[in-house]
């Protein structure tokens, strides 16, 4: 067979920071693509400013640009690298849009570079909904009735063509941003205006409602010889009306007959051909009317997607890898099926199990956001579970999501009456699955629930049966439950945690009874072929029905437990670290085993670890794997809180945990032990106390004085954490459903005013300590470290302070006996240096520092856990005390506010960001400008700036305002801020607050005059007014800065931008 002629060099465009709708699936697909390119000896160039990705690791690429995925940076890279081709189909919508801009601007032609994987024509045909519908109509396929509106007037004039409810879909936006459902004319006008504003092409598709239709997706790939195969079918449990990213989905489709499925498959083939995706993968979505069977095509993505990542994990078929190889010119029959290794990639996987995906939302963090689900995606992450049956897969998925619910009826909030329950079924919301079970519990029948929810009765019947089983189980006690009922419960996926709750006994009691009966899970292979051929690649899932396959891995082996679903506070950084742990353990000669349930990740790629268990990360599921594999070590400290919270129980059960001991972790995490630790080492910690009831809370608060940082105990990512400036706020805070009790004490800390925060990561082998790096926060203390901007190396910290921080870090690490990594957070102000937190595990900042210093710290940490000493690791030589010269690295956070409308974008102690970017440049200003540009809020170089700051910030604002004026910006300010600035000789225009009459700041924003908003929150009274300005700025894509330190950094950034073109440099060339 002829090997195709290949380009010598290829630029891969990544997807940038993690945002809603675009998560680590594009790290997964990018890594597969880069590996496939490398295998061909092609020079690979990558642009992606997300440092927490595996794809940006130095050895995966020849030239890695951690630069913004913006036209200016891409053109600079093209000019420098002159790649022969660009692969734009593995970096999500971001990469596709970026490639289209390069095409339209003529940059591709100018640099003699072409797109592979999808042509500009095909991208346009798929993405421009108007063109797409026309093409489908030409090829005899149906789409929903629709028209394209380019103005609100046009929309209102034509909306009768589709009727209400009408669906709005802005063109070229990510994850359906700006879309929605309008049920009346009053809803239609504003929604259309918003969509028009968000769409880069200023057009919105207005469509006939398909709400309630069954929704399906097919993952299709095509090669240059026009071979087309369907890798996977996916059926949405939630019918049309809920974005597929927010739907519970099932693979393969369960309710289609062969005739319907083949009809869909035929159309899928026709769509990919008609649109002209010549090589690579596409995702095609269909709707099917549940009573008439009419089928319409909804849309296609001419690239790999989140669904294709799911399909890859669900089937074992590496879509991104194969799509890349096809883009290079291979045909499917020339490529092997890497799972069987004996059969080709030209086939369609056959499944003999069921896969369920459940999204993970963060409404608990975004309390202002409307929790109704619609065509506008809101979830942050997802889990996938595999079971022999739908019931088993569903229940495994439920416990994988880690929301503290281990069954369909676990912790479902009671509903006051039948009508409320019916509304919960009829209006899609994240808890609908649970309310469905509740409805069956309340005696509703399958048909009633179907009529309300539109969910297919097949799935509902299965859920009704789960409720029935649960009711039978309730009838017994843990001892009296008949063995066959227990077997049935386990076969249906009931978790030990659920059973123990039903029976009100400790989980261990259920487990002991089960294990005594010999009732343990079996492990089955994901083999792409339903056992027809032998699978060589070990990729397993558990089930309680079947016959176990494969034997425990031979040799010295270590289990790495992953981080579960992405959420605010625990995202791709931890998957990155888990992968690094695997690499480090491989370096030490160990066989590696990964346990995780997040289908988007690199860690769950079949060739990352030596063996993969696609399983929930719960005590029950992890323990069962450890019992089967009997590893030499278990590593829990790389995946964030998810694996860490299993540590004490696994240790007490006698499993060999590697690294820092759970008791040492407890010393750092437990409040009292932590204070004892500080005392012992003579460290300052902010004065704090614990309150177990409301009276105590007030008393302790008064004792400590305000401002005060308060938080419930046992939370992640600063959940429910708040900064209170006066006692009156304490009542408001406690009224927000914050529980204060013996079991859930409230933690109160004196707030350190005007403090600079410092993050430190270090490695320790138990005897010696090496600092990975020190990050200076740009915003003052009070902003969650996951949200604040940070800079490396520190820019304003005196040398002697840095030395002290280093010394304290060393002391803490040795005192705790850390083996691996630890992270410390300090705050420094006039009163001194305080330790805020000690985290004896890898932290969120490790990937950033690893990139900045070009040292894979997490990988080395894993080697320390395997017994290696720091002195054995040449990578660390000369690192201590050494400051890299020449470059400044800025981390900026990325927030979901533009997707979660109504949410005040102000920063505080509760983490809200979904991702991060890195900006690299020789100066701080340029690095900051790059970081913001990469975060999607590029700093303006001219126009008007709106200023409105609280009193204590007014003086600090003066130099910033003066600087902006000197750079040619027009300044407008609200009264108080304006008077202060004028007094200090800075000329400022007047503008009203929103309530004060016209023209106000909102009018200027709408008119497009304002290019930057600097607004620090003034406290609760005027908050609503300010919040509306901030929300509006976010909605219109105007950068909104809410701290005065941020404003200062922005000024430096703007100065750098105006100082000339920013340069780009690959990681491989950094010092």
């Amino acid at each position: 067979m002829m090997k195709p002629v290949m380009p010598k060099s290829v630029l891969v465009i990544g997807s940038g920071p993690i945002v809603i709708g675009q998560a680590c699936e594009f790290d997964y697909s990018g890594v597969q693509a880069l590996k496939a390119l490398k295998e061909e000896g092609i020079r690979t160039i990558l642009v992606n400013n997300n440092p927490a990705t595996i794809m940006t690791d130095p050895d995966l690429c020849d030239a890695t640009y951690l630069e913004p995925i913006e036209p200016w940076a891409l053109e600079a890279i093209l000019e420098k690298e002159r790649p022969e081709a660009i692969l734009p189909t593995v970096g999500g919508q971001t990469a596709l849009n970026a490639a289209m801009v390069l095409h339209q601007s003529g940059a591709l032609d100018r640099f003699g570079c072409h797109l592979i994987g999808a042509s500009p024509q095909a991208i346009r045909a798929a993405e421009d909904r108007d063109a797409f519908k026309a093409i489908l109509a030409r090829h005899g396929m149906e789409t929903s009735r629709s028209f394209v509106a380019r103005s609100v007037e046009e929309g209102l004039a034509r909306v009768a063509e589709v009727g209400y409810p009408a669906i709005l879909r802005p063109s070229f936006t990510l994850g359906g941003a700006g879309g929605g459902i309008a049920r009346t004319e009053a809803e239609f006008g504003p929604l259309l205006a918003y969509g028009l504003a968000l769409s880069p092409s200023g057009s919105v598709l207005v469509e006939e409602s398909l709400i309630g239709w069954k929704e399906f997706e097919l993952e299709v790939i095509r090669d240059r010889a026009d071979n087309v195969v369907v890798i996977c079918s996916i059926e949405n449990l939630d019918p049309m009306g809920v974005h597929t990213g927010d739907s519970v989905t099932v693979a393969p489709a369960q309710t289609l007959s062969d005739k319907e499925y083949q009809w869909m498959r035929d159309w899928a083939k026709r769509v990919i051909r008609a649109v002209g995706v010549d090589t690579g993968g596409s995702n095609i979505q269909f709707a099917l009317h549940p009573q008439t069977g009419r089928m319409v095509v909804i849309e296609m993505n001419p690239r790999v997607s989140r669904s294709s990542a799911l399909a890859s994990k669900a089937t074992g078929y590496p879509i991104a890898r194969v799509a890349t190889q096809l883009a290079l010119g291979y045909t499917l029959d020339q490529l092997p099926n890497l799972i069987t290794r004996t059969t080709p990639a030209a086939f369609e996987p056959a499944l003999d199990y069921v896969v369920v995906k459940i999204p993970r939302w963060s409404f608990d963090k975004f309390r202002e956001t409307d929790p109704t689900l619609s065509t506008h995606m809101k979830s942050i992450g997802e889990v996938m579970a595999i079971g022999r049956t739908f019931k088993e897969a569903l229940q495994k998925a439920l416990r994988s999501v880690e929301i503290g619910r281990y069954g369909l009826l676990d912790g479902v909030p009671p509903v006051p009456d039948g009508n409320t329950l019916k509304a919960k079924l009829a209006i899609p919301n994240w808890e609908r699955l649970f309310y469905t079970a509740l409805a069956f519990q309340h005696g509703l029948c399958v048909d009633e629930v179907r009529d309300l929810s539109g969910m297919d009765p097949w799935f509902l019947e299965q859920m009704a049966q789960l409720v029935a089983t649960e009711n039978r189980l309730r009838f017994f006690s843990a001892e009296a439950c008949p063995a066959d009922l227990l077997v049935q419960a386990k076969e249906e996926g009931f978790a030990d945690r659920r059973l123990c709750k039903l029976w009100d006994v400790p989980e261990a009691q259920v487990r002991q009874r089960r294990e005594a009966m010999g009732l343990r899970p079996v492990y089955l292979g994901v083999d792409t072929c339903a056992a027809e051929f032998e699978a060589k690649t070990p990729y397993f899932y558990s089930s309680y029905s079947g016959t176990s396959e494969g034997v425990p891995l031979a040799g010295k082996k270590v289990v790495v437990v992953g981080s579960g679903p992405n959420r605010v506070g625990q995202g791709i950084e931890f998957d990155y670290c888990c992968c690094q742990a695997v690499f480090g353990l491989k370096d030490e000669g160990y066989e590696t085993i990964m346990v995780n349930c997040n289908p988007e990740t690199v860690s769950t790629d079949f060739d990352t670890a030596g063996r993969l268990y696609f399983e929930p990360v719960t005590l029950e599921d992890v323990k069962a794997i450890l019992d089967r594999e009997r590893p030499d070590g278990v590593v829990l400290t790389f995946g964030g809180q998810t694996p860490l919270k299993l540590a004490r129980e696994l240790e007490s059960l006698g499993y060999p945990l590697w690294g820092t001991s759970p008791s040492a972790i407890h010393r750092a995490e437990d409040r009292q032990e932590f204070q004892a630790l500080c005392q012992k080492l003579g460290l300052n910690a902010p004065p704090g106390n614990t309150a177990r009831n409301l009276e105590e809370a007030h008393a302790k608060a008064r004792e400590l004085g305000f401002p005060l940082m308060v938080r419930p105990s046992y939370v992640l990512g600063g959940q429910g954490m708040a900064l209170l400036t006066e006692e009156a706020h304490l009542d408001q805070y406690l009224a927000q459903a914050i529980e204060v009790s013996e079991d859930h004490p409230l933690l109160l800390d004196s707030f350190l005013q005007d403090a600079v925060e410092i993050d430190v990561d270090a490695l320790c082998d138990g005897r010696d300590v090496v600092l990975a790096g020190m990050l200076e926060h740009i915003e003052k203390a009070g902003i969650h470290s996951g949200d604040s901007s940070q800079v490396f190396p520190p820019q304003t910290l005196p040398q002697d302070l840095q030395a002290r921080v280093e010394d304290l870090t060393r002391q803490v690490a040795l005192e705790l006996g850390v083996v691996g990594m630890l992270n410390l957070q300090f705050a420094w102000n006039r009163e001194g240096l305080f330790v805020l937190e000690v985290n004896p595990r890898v932290s969120r900042t490790v990937p950033f520092l690893s990139k900045a210093r070009k040292v894979p710290f997490a990988r080395l940490a894993a080697r320390l856990m395997a017994g290696r000493m720091l002195s054995d690791l040449p990578e660390l030589k000369g690192l201590a005390g050494d400051r890299p010269e020449g470059l400044v690295f800025v981390k900026a956070s990325v927030f979901p506010f533009a997707r979660l409308l109504g949410e005040d974008p102000v920063l505080g102690p509760e983490m809200k960001s979904t991702g991060e970017v890195m900006g690299v440049a020789p100066s701080f200003g340029a690095a900051f400008a790059k970081a913001l540009s990469g975060a999607g809020v590029p700093l303006p170089q001219g126009g008007a700036v709106f200023l409105s700051v609280r009193d204590q910030d007014k003086e600090a604002l003066v130099p910033v305002a003066r600087g902006l004026a000197d750079l040619g910006f027009a300044l407008v300010a609200t009264r108080g801020t304006r008077l202060h600035l004028e007094q200090r000789g800075v000329p400022v225009g007047a503008v009203n607050k929103v309530g004060e009459g016209k023209p106000n700041a909102a009018d200027l924003l709408k008119a497009g005059t304002l290019r930057l908003v600097i607004n620090t929150p003034m406290g609760r009274k005027s908050q609503r007014d300010e919040a509306s300005i901030r929300c509006q700025a976010i909605a219109l894509g105007v950068p909104c800065i809410t701290t005065v330190e941020g404003a200062r950094a922005a000024l430096e950034g703007i100065r750098a931008l105006k100082g000339g073109r920013l340069s780009v440099s690959p990681l491989q060339s950094w010092p």
Partner: protein, 383 residues
Amino acid sequence: MDGILLLDDGTAFSGKGFGHLGTRVGEAVFTTAMVGYQEILTDPSYAGQIVAMTFPHIGNYGVNPQDVESRAPALAGFVVHDVSPAPSSWRAHGSIQDFLRLHGVVGLCGVDTRALARHCRTRGTPKALVSNDGTPLEALKARLAAFQGIDGEDLTARVTAKAPYTFAEGFEGPEGFVAELAPARMPGRAFKVVCLDFGLKENILKNLTARRCQVTVVPAYTPLDEILALGPHGVFLSNGPGNPEMAAAALPAVRGLAERLPTFGICFGHQLLALAFGGKTYKLPFGHRGANHPVKRLETGRVEITSHNHGFSVDGDRLPAGFSATHVNLNDGTLEGMRHESLPVFSVQYHPESSPGPHDSLYLFDDFIAMMEEFHGRRDARR
């Protein structure tokens, strides 16, 4: 009622009975097709076999009058992991449980069909027995021990038409589905095609009638002169169950027809064609059954995803004289299609009519029409 699937090596799989209650012997086979259980149940090629579905949920969308490939199931037993309690489909007329009961098919659910597939894959196709009527184990063992298997049986005689008949039905199913099956090109005339019925799937005939063919189905062992007396323009050799060597009685007619008229064979028909011209067939270790097999069309190099159901294969290394390979299986390299170098004769091992399965290979029916056009002329001479 508890039931059992017993294999000839003593392996037993337990399950629960559903459908008809009874005991049947047969050859245990598995199919990896994920949808299309009703088409599979009614495919006569499964005669004498106990069919296991590797896909765990079966019965999800019920049964309907359209998704059938023959009047009644011919298989010996039906084994699944989980049978759906209530069907859900706008097309459903009833449940799979009722369908099995109505047609006397012994069903077994709750079976670890993945383990069964792995067993068959490593040990080869076993003789087996399925029982869900409470027959004592010893009696079952004795009955299985006495079972000679199906390779020596002429299953054709069991499933073939008893008398000639004409077939004029068109495609059935959802409107959009039927539209997808429309031929790329409609012939200028209506060809008369005689189909030798070795256990045919009706969707094959529907693909012929969709191309204006006037189809007469004749029993498998109809003599050559009787077939020629019908004055056909072309001959179709159907699929069917069992060992092709057991249908040796059909070989003279098959050869005689192929030497005189455009001839197209599918599956069993393909095997008989090879045997009639001196080729060899052999039994595959565990057969090919599923809807995802890649077949390469050698002429174009393109890959078709195809529907398979065969336990025997034509030996590709010893093709009959005058034939060359046209299609090959990419999974195991077995022969999937052949064509005569001078006669207008070709055949495929797999199922271009799909049902169930992908529609990637419908062009073969167009090729058959084109062959008749070339042989007889594009237009009807009588017009």
